[in-house]
Structures are given as structure tokens and as C-alpha cells.
């Protein structure tokens, strides 16, 4: 009997153990209701569960749910649904009764990255506000797979002479800074500043993991730049191993990447050659060349992963170019001959100092040699830049991030050559003078900025930087502020204001008294609105005003440079981008600019050299099949200003005519238009991946003006057209 009692006790105990919270468990309760989102939208697939149990249900297509539970008393129910924030509610379950529990969920948007895009920025990367991708760069018709040319399809930027140099919001090309992995790139081009030969960039867009182009209001970490920043970040490690060869009508290249099996070591190389003979044979020569433009490029990277959060990377690149092109000017008709070579090297270290602190450090050196001759002019210019930089990012908490850093940059300039005594007479044998000069300068800069994000809908970035210029002995001081506010789910307002300084190019100090030139100053005011549907539709409109001071200006008495120049620019940028599934991507960008400067020889405010009043680009790319992509791009813009010649006088001593100019930049070139088209076809060749490209640039063969020149006595104006007429290009790429 005793044993029986023990057994009964055991049974009772066991049953109790099985039911767990026996005190709270009663007869079943039916819980039902509806789960709704914002604006009472019904949510299908939401999950409702009583915390700590598996009692719950999933909503049907009408948002309804229903389940039974034996739980009783105060219980938390957890409600989750993809795309919505988790909701936890406490309910009082009365045993055996039916309970109607209706639930409301709010959207859980990924807001952080999207909102943190600053004003005037066009970026690539992983967030929803991406406006530019490497794939688009290589597919934009007319961009010739060139990053800079691609950027000119965005509002606010324009091509210089149809090449890769860009100007931004009416500024000069040298007011745009390119940064690659902390290093400043001053000459990432071939055929830079060469008469009527388009320049091309030497940067491979596929090697970039991040592209951030900011046409104003940029961060305090960028110093010594007045107008815009193109900040490029390359991959710390190659993304795999392989080789690729390209042969086209005008160029050939071979590139390769290697990643070790353990992912700790990687390297890449690229080599390319430009040869225009076949291209010109098919498309015709619109100028006389001797030699025909030619160029070589070779470069590579080595990367080593030092630890889980440390990486060391070295990058080197060499390029050269050579061209002779016939040009007729009033005092000389002959070949403009130019050659250049450029070296660039950079070593970058990234390492985590602790869980919330990252250090980036880099040193770089670049050397650019350029010779050109035309008539009596013979110029040999050498530039050397070296830079060291350290940046530290510290995540204080999830709302505050601190960025600080310092940099030192060396700039060496060497010019030798023969130049005309009078600009209007470059005939060989005319009066000339020799130059053999060298100058160098240093600049030290330090900055700090704080990214404050009080909520997911608002950020503000106050920053400050100061720079010291060793040659002039002048300081500059730049307070800056950037902010963004989300008005509603898809609507964002952004703005920026601040001081931006840039010291004049070192060659300007040669014409200044005791190197007394201040840093040129621009105050940026920017306010913009953005609608972003989450990636498929993006619309931006932005208004800006920039107030310039301390621009370089010629003293009319002694012809020395001073810092008395001034100017302003106002404008509106508009950008509309649409993506329809994976079939179509296109955008329309429009910019209105009114840029006036009193600079260099101007005696009053006149249109700036690159005051392009209206600029419209329409770009589209259509995936006709999985293998065939078709693209078209149309651009139209106001012609750039120029200074007309209104008369001339014969100078007997020089045996040449001297032009008499109208007011600076009082004339305008005709409207510029071009339509470019391309097609890319992916197929298999010898069992390997292959891509074929055909492109027709300037489809309607529009004769866009490059420059005006004149006959000997300036009585007749002669139009020099751009050589970028209708042209056909074909190329074939093959994976090896």
C-alpha cells in the first residue's frame, strides 16, 4: 500500500512536471484578431506568439489570425512581420474565454544609411540612395567606360573640351579634387590639356568599391578644394582570381587579379595600349596628326591582410602619352606636339584600434612630367606631389561618430622652356624669353567632425578644419555644417553650408609679390529635397549659392597677382532616376548655373570660364535580352563663354597683328549637342566568357565647336571643330 502511495505521488509529480506552469494553465482560450500596418493596410504572414511558448499563429491574406492557448494570466505576445518593427504587447488571458486582440505594426525602414547621404552627393555602395554604379559607368553611352565622363551625366558637372576633366557648378577644373584611398590624384588622365585631343582617365571603375562624388557642401576631411570632391575607395582585396583581355579598334589591354586561397594575400595588374590607326582609318581623320595619339599604361596592387581588421595595400600606376596635331593660329600654322608621363604610388593601412575605433593611414607620391611645343613655344613642366595622411573614426555610441585626422602635402613645381614675349606672336624666331624656375610648397591640415544622429530621421554633421600653407605662410579656417531630415518615409530634405578654401596653384605664386596670395575662399549654401522610393525611383532638386572671395586677380598696374578677385554662382540641379526591374535604368539630369567671377585678367564680374547656363542629359540602358544591353545618351548644353576678338592692330616691330579683345567671356559658343549609342553582347567564345561592344558616338555627326581661331590679321574668324565627330567603335573582351 505504501508503495502504491509512493507511485501515486510520483505520477502526480510527473504530470505536474509535464504541464510546466501549472498554476497559470487553465482550459483553452481562443485568441484572435487582425494585424494591420500603417494606413490600416492588412499584413499577411505576420507572426503572433506568446512569449516563451510556441502558442501562436500566422496571419492570413486578410491579416486575420486565430489560435488557442492554455496559458493564462499576464502574458507578453510578440508580433513580427518582415519589413515591420517588432511589437511586444502585454495581454491578460482569461482562461476559457475568447479574446479579440487587434494589432498595429509600424514600418521598419532601413533609414540610417539613406539619410546619411549628404547634400550634393552621388554615391555608389550598398545603401538605398545609390546613384551611380560601376556597371552603369561602363554602360553609359559616350562615357567610354570612363568614370569622369560618366559623372558628367549628373547635374552640376560638365566635361572640359569633351575630355575627362570636369568642372563643377561653374568652377574651374582644378577646383575638383580626386581622392583615391586617401591619396590626392592630380593627373589621373592621359592627353590632359592637349589641344583638341580628348583626355581619358586612367582609373579602372571595376576596381572601386565606393564612389562618392560631391558637388558641394562636402565634409571637413577634404581640404584645399573649392568646388567638388570625387572620393574613390578601391577594394582592400581582389574579389577573386582571373584574367581578362580586351582588344578594340583603338586600344588593347590585359588585366588580372589574384586572391590567395586563405584570402590573406591578393594582387592585381593591368596593362594597356592605345593605338588609333584602325579607328581613324574607319572613322576618318578630322585633323592632321604626327604622331597619331598613342598611350601606354601599366599598374597594379598588392594587398595583405594583417589581421581580422587590418589590411595593408600598395598601389602603383604608370602612364604616358604622345601626340602631334596640326593647328592653325594667326601667327603660326604647324604641329602642336605634346608628350607626358605620370607615376603614382600609394601605400594604405587600415586597422581597427579597438571595437569602435578605426585608423586609416596612407602615404602617396605622384610625379607628372609634360613637354609640349608649338611654334616657338617649348615647355617642360614637372610636378611632384607627396602626401601623408592619418584618419581616425571613433563610434562613440549608436548616435555619435567622431572623425578626425591630419595630413601633410608637398607640392614641387619645375618649369623650363622658351615662351613668346608677346602672346600674339609665336612664330619661330619671334621675340621670346627663357624660363628655368622651380618652386615648392607644403600644406598641413587638421580636421575634426562629429556625425550626430539624434534619431533615424535626422542627422547633423558639424565640422571644422584648418590648413597652413608654407609658401605663403597663410592659414585658412573652415567651419562646415551638413544636415538631413526625413520628412516622411520617402521624402528627405538635405542642406549644407560652410567655408571652403583652396590655395592658388603653385605657379601663381611666381607672379605674386613675396608669395602673398591668400587661400581662395568659397562659402557654400545648399538646400535640397529628395524623393526616394527605395531604389527604383529617385528624384532630387537642389538649389545652391556660392560666394567667392580671395580669387587670384591681376593688378592692372604691375601685372602681379593679388587675392582681390571675387565672384558668385547660383543654380539649381535636378536629377530623376528610374529603374524598372532589371530591364531598364535611366536618368534625366538638368542643371541651371549662373557663375560670375572677377578673376585673373577680368576687371569686373563676368561669366566664369565654365559658366554653362543650361545642361541637360538623358541616359537610358535597356536589357533587351539576358545577353544584349542597348544604351543611348543625349546631351545638350549652352555653349561655354569665350572672349571674342573685335579688331587688330599691326605691330611693325613684331611683324605681326595684335588682337584687340572684347570684354572677357562676353561671347558664347553655339549650343553643344550629342547623341551617343552603344550595345553590349555577352556570349561564349572558346568556352570562355566574352563580351562584345559596339558604340556609335555623336550619331548625328554634330559639328561641335572646340575653339575659334583667326586668320593672320584677325579679320576672319575660323571655327575649329571638335574631333569627336560621328565615330564607330567595336571591341571584344575575353576572360582568360
Amino acid at each position: 500500500m505504501k508503495l502504491l502511495l509512493i507511485c501515486l505521488l510520483v505520477i502526480t509529480g510527473t504530470l505536474s512536471a509535464q504541464t510546466g506552469d501549472s498554476g497559470n494553465t487553465k482550459s483553452p482560450t481562443k485568441i484572435f484578431g487582425t494585424v494591420k500596418g500603417e494606413k490600416d493596410s492588412l499584413i499577411e504572414g505576420a507572426n503572433i506568439v506568446i512569449e516563451g511558448t510556441i502558442d501562436g499563429a500566422t496571419t492570413d491574406e486578410k491579416g486575420n489570425y486565430e489560435f488557442e492557448t492554455e496559458q493564462a494570466g499576464s502574458k507578453n505576445i510578440i508580433i513580427t512581420a518582415i519589413g515591420y518593427a517588432e511589437n511586444i504587447m502585454m495581454i491578460e488571458i482569461e482562461s476559457g474565454k475568447e479574446m479579440n486582440v487587434n494589432i498595429k505594426l509600424t514600418k521598419d525602414e532601413v533609414k540610417t544609411e539613406e539619410i546619411l547621404v549628404t547634400a550634393s552627393s552621388y554615391t555608389s555602395g550598398t545603401n538605398a540612395a545609390v546613384t551611380l554604379t560601376p556597371l552603369e559607368i561602363v554602360r553609359i553611352p559616350g562615357a567610354d567606360a570612363d568614370l569622369y565622363r560618366a559623372i558628367t551625366t549628373f547635374p552640376g558637372s560638365n566635361q572640359v573640351n569633351e575630355g575627362s576633366r570636369i568642372t563643377v557648378r561653374g568652377g574651374d577644373p582644378d577646383e575638383v579634387l580626386t581622392v583615391l584611398d586617401l591619396a590626392s590624384l592630380y593627373n589621373p588622365f592621359i592627353f590632359d590639356e592637349t589641344f583638341n585631343v580628348s583626355s581619358y582617365s586612367t582609373i579602372n571603375p571595376w576596381g572601386l568599391k565606393g564612389i562618392n562624388f560631391t558637388s558641394g557642401g562636402f565634409s571637413a576631411k577634404y581640404g584645399n578644394v573649392l568646388s567638388a570632391v570625387l572620393d574613390l575607395k578601391s577594394y582592400d582585396m581582389p574579389q577573386g582570381s582571373g584574367m581578362f583581355a580586351w582588344v578594340g579598334l583603338a586600344n588593347a589591354s590585359l588585366s588580372g587579379v589574384y586572391l590567395s586561397r586563405d584570402g590573406k594575400f591578393g594582387g592585381s595588374f593591368s596593362a594597356g595600349k592605345l593605338f588609333l590607326q584602325p579607328y581613324l582609318a574607319i572613322n576618318g581623320e578630322y585633323s592632321e596628326y604626327s604622331p597619331i595619339p598613342e598611350s601606354n599604361q601599366i599598374g597594379g596592387t598588392l594587398s595583405y591582410k594583417l589581421g581580422t581588421s587590418s589590411n595593408l595595400k600598395a598601389y602603383a600606376n604608370y602612364s604616358d602619352d604622345k601626340v602631334g596635331i596640326r593647328n592653325q593660329s594667326p601667327s603660326f600654322d604647324g604641329f602642336y606636339e605634346s608628350s607626358s608621363n605620370s607615376y603614382f604610388g600609394n601605400v594604405k593601412l587600415i586597422t581597427g584600434l579597438d571595437n569602435s575605433t578605426v585608423l586609416n593611414a596612407g602615404i602617396s607620391i605622384s610625379k607628372y612630367d609634360r613637354d609640349y611645343s608649338y611654334g616657338l613655344i617649348k615647355s617642360d613642366q614637372k610636378d611632384i606631389y607627396a602626401k601623408g595622411r592619418v584618419d581616425i573614426t571613433k563610434q562613440i555610441n549608436n548616435k555619435i561618430e567622431l572623425n578626425t585626422g591630419l595630413e601633410y602635402e608637398y607640392d614641387g613645381y619645375d618649369l623650363t622652356g622658351i615662351f613668346p614675349q608677346y602672346q600674339y606672336n609665336i612664330r619661330p624666331g619671334a621675340q621670346s624669353f627663357g624660363i628655368d624656375t622651380a618652386q615648392n610648397s607644403g600644406r598641413a591640415g587638421i580636421y575634426a567632425e562629429t556625425q550626430i544622429k539624434p534619431s533615424d530621421d535626422f542627422f547633423v554633421i558639424p565640422g571644422i578644419r584648418t590648413d597652413y600653407h608654407t609658401l605663403s605662410g597663410k592659414f585658412s579656417f573652415d567651419p562646415r555644417l551638413s544636415f538631413g531630415y526625413r520628412l516622411s518615409e520617402h521624402n528627405i530634405v538635405r542642406g549644407a553650408l560652410g567655408y571652403y578654401h583652396q590655395y592658388p596653384g603653385i605657379e601663381n605664386y611666381l607672379r605674386a609679390e613675396e608669395n602673398d596670395l591668400d587661400a581662395q575662399n568659397a562659402i557654400h549654401y545648399i538646400l535640397g529635397y529628395e524623393f526616394n522610393s527605395g531604389g527604383d525611383i529617385l528624384f532630387r532638386v537642389e538649389g545652391y549659392y556660392k560666394d567667392y572671395s580671395n580669387l587670384v586677380l591681376t593688378n592692372p598696374v604691375n601685372f602681379l597677382y593679388t587675392s582681390e578677385g571675387e565672384g558668385n554662382v547660383k543654380g539649381v540641379d535636378m536629377f530623376f532616376k528610374v529603374k524598372i526591374k532589371n530591364k531598364f535604368t535611366g536618368w534625366i539630369s538638368y542643371a541651371y548655373t549662373d557663375s560670375k567671377r572677377k578673376q585673373y585678367e577680368a576687371t569686373k564680374l563676368v561669366p566664369a570660364n565654365y559658366d554653362i547656363t543650361n545642361n541637360l542629359s538623358v541616359v537610358g540602358s535597356y536589357n533587351a535580352t539576358e545577353q544584349l544591353v542597348l544604351g543611348a545618351a543625349f546631351r545638350v548644353s549652352t555653349g561655354k563663354p569665350y572672349t571674342p576678338v573685335i579688331a587688330s592692330e599691326f605691330v611693325k616691330l613684331q611683324e605681326a597683328y595684335k588682337p584687340i579683345y572684347a570684354e572677357i567671356n562676353s561671347g558664347r559658343f553655339p549650343t553643344y549637342t550629342t547623341l551617343d549609342m552603344n550595345a553590349q553582347y555577352i556570349f561564349s567564345l572558346f568556352g570562355k566568357f566574352a563580351v562584345g561592344v559596339i558604340a556609335v558616338n555623336n550619331v548625328f555627326n554634330k559639328k561641335n565647336l572646340y575653339n575659334y581661331t583667326y586668320n593672320v590679321d584677325y579679320s576672319q574668324r575660323i571655327e575649329t571643330y571638335s574631333n569627336n565627330r560621328r565615330s564607330f567603335y567595336a571591341g571584344l573582351g575575353l576572360q582568360l
Binding site: C7, T14, A57, T58, D60, T80, G83, F689
Partner: protein, 263 residues
């Protein structure tokens, strides 16, 4: 009396053992039920049922046991749901469930980095990204390659890994290294590996065998070399025999086969 007592004790012991076993099996029972729901929903390719199955796994997370495995199944349900979007060309759905799947699966990998099935699924989920963000080509290649390297390191002969390589070749143009001649050997090998496989735990994933039969049949139909059509029909028949409720084989694959025959 003594005999009766002994009988009673036996009964009590049985009740106790059953009770203890039941309390220990709450998680396993729930997992097996949820997996059955997921398998049935996947076979029917029914979005509503897939969402319900996903919900079952989400609720199991509350038991706080092996969350890495539960999260794996949630991600698997997400993958199946993304495929329903894919079938109806609804890129919004593909994106929604692919992104949810990737983030959920990452939680699983963080908790158990040596579970090969997670990397196989991660590769499949990242492959889905082609459907809605082709422009992020490099990131996708990087993510799929990373998952592939881990999976091949952990278990290169996993039938689902081999199956996925076969499916990947099936959808990839020959010019990108895919094509039917690359797909077929992988799909055949996958079927062979499935037939020899015994999972370490009954809770481990068992999906994929029906897909191997179906895709092999479709790859043979596409290649359509001498004898391929007959072999494709054999694969369909065998698949239907083994998986009578698989809508994928009996409806989708069969219709592809019939379409090809009518040409």
C-alpha cells in the same frame, strides 16, 4: 496483490517514461511538424502555406533551443518564398524575402559557423540578388564566392551543394561558365549523393532530392541530345514516383517537357 502491484508499477513507469520523453521532445516535435509543413508548402509552391510554415519556425524560436537551426529553417522558408516571387516576376517579393533570408541566415552562421547547409543556402540566397540588383555584380560575386568557398571547405560532397552548382549552371549562360553540359553532371552526381546520404540528425535539412530529379530532367530537355528526351522522361517518372506530391516535378517540369515535345 503483489502481481497487481508490479503491473501497476510497470504502467506507472511507462507513463513516466512517455511523459519525460514528451517533455524532451517538444522542440523536436515542433521542428518536425514545421519542417513537414514547409516541405508540403514548397512542394505545392503555395505562398500562403509557406508563410504559415515560416511562422511555425518563428514561434519555435521562443523555446530558445538550437536557435541556429531554427533560423536556418526560417531562412529556408524565406528562400522558398522568394522563389514564388521569382516565378511570378515579382522582384519586390524576391528582394523582400531574399534580404530577410540573408540576415536571418547570418544569425545562424554567427551561432554555428561550421554548419555547411547554411553556406549552401547563403549561396542560393545571394544568387537571387541577380534578379533585383544586377548592378551590384561585384558584391554578389563576392558574397556567393565566399559562401561557396566555405561550403566546399566543409563538405564538398554535400548533395545540396552539388545540386546548387548544377542549378547555378542551369541558369547561367554557357558564356559565364554555365550551360547544360556543366549542369547535367552535377545534377546526376547530386542524385547519387542523395541516395547514399544519411543525415546526422533527423532535424537536419533533407530538401533537394526532388529538385535534383526535376532540374536534371529540364537540363536534359534543354540539351536535347540523342537520347536526352527519353532519359528526361525517366527522371520525371522516377521523381513523381518518389515525390508524388511535388508540384515542381508533376506540373512545372512536366509542362516544360511537354512544351519541348510539341515543338
Amino acid at each position: 496483490m503483489k502481481q497487481n502491484l508490479v503491473k501497476l508499477l510497470v504502467v506507472i513507469m511507462m507513463i513516466m517514461i512517455t511523459g519525460i520523453a514528451n517533455s524532451r521532445d517538444d522542440f523536436e516535435d515542433a521542428m518536425l511538424k514545421a519542417r513537414k509543413s514547409l516541405t508540403e508548402a514548397s512542394e505545392k509552391n503555395d505562398e500562403a502555406l509557406l508563410k504559415k510554415a515560416r511562422g511555425q519556425f518563428e514561434r519555435i524560436l521562443q523555446l530558445k533551443k538550437d536557435p541556429w537551426l531554427v533560423n536556418y529553417y526560417i531562412a529556408l522558408a524565406d528562400y522558398s518564398l522568394s522563389m514564388t516571387g521569382s516565378a511570378s516576376n515579382d522582384t519586390k517579393t524576391v528582394k523582400q524575402y531574399t534580404e530577410s533570408g540573408i540576415s536571418t541566415l547570418q544569425k545562424s552562421i554567427d551561432l554555428k559557423p561550421d554548419f555547411v547547409e547554411s553556406y549552401i543556402l547563403m549561396k542560393a540566397l545571394n544568387f537571387n540578388r541577380w534578379q533585383y540588383e544586377q548592378e551590384k555584380m561585384q558584391e554578389i560575386i563576392s558574397a556567393t564566392s565566399a559562401a561557396d568557398v566555405e561550403a566546399s571547405k566543409l563538405e564538398p560532397e554535400n548533395p545540396r551543394y552539388v545540386l546548387l552548382n548544377g542549378i547555378s549552371s542551369y541558369y547561367t549562360p554557357e558564356s559565364f561558365g554555365g550551360g547544360m553540359n556543366n549542369a547535367i553532371p552535377n545534377l546526376e552526381k547530386s542524385i547519387d549523393l542523395f541516395s547514399k546520404r544519411k543525415e546526422k540528425s533527423e532535424l537536419y535539412p533533407e530538401w533537394g532530392k526532388d529538385l535534383a530529379y526535376g532540374y536534371l530532367a529540364m537540363a536534359l530537355v534543354k540539351r536535347n541530345d540523342d537520347g536526352d528526351m527519353t532519359k528526361a522522361k525517366d527522371m520525371i517518372d522516377e521523381g513523381i514516383k518518389l515525390f508524388p506530391s511535388s508540384g515542381f516535378i508533376s506540373e512545372y517540369v512536366m509542362s516544360e517537357y511537354k512544351k519541348s515535345q510539341s515543338k
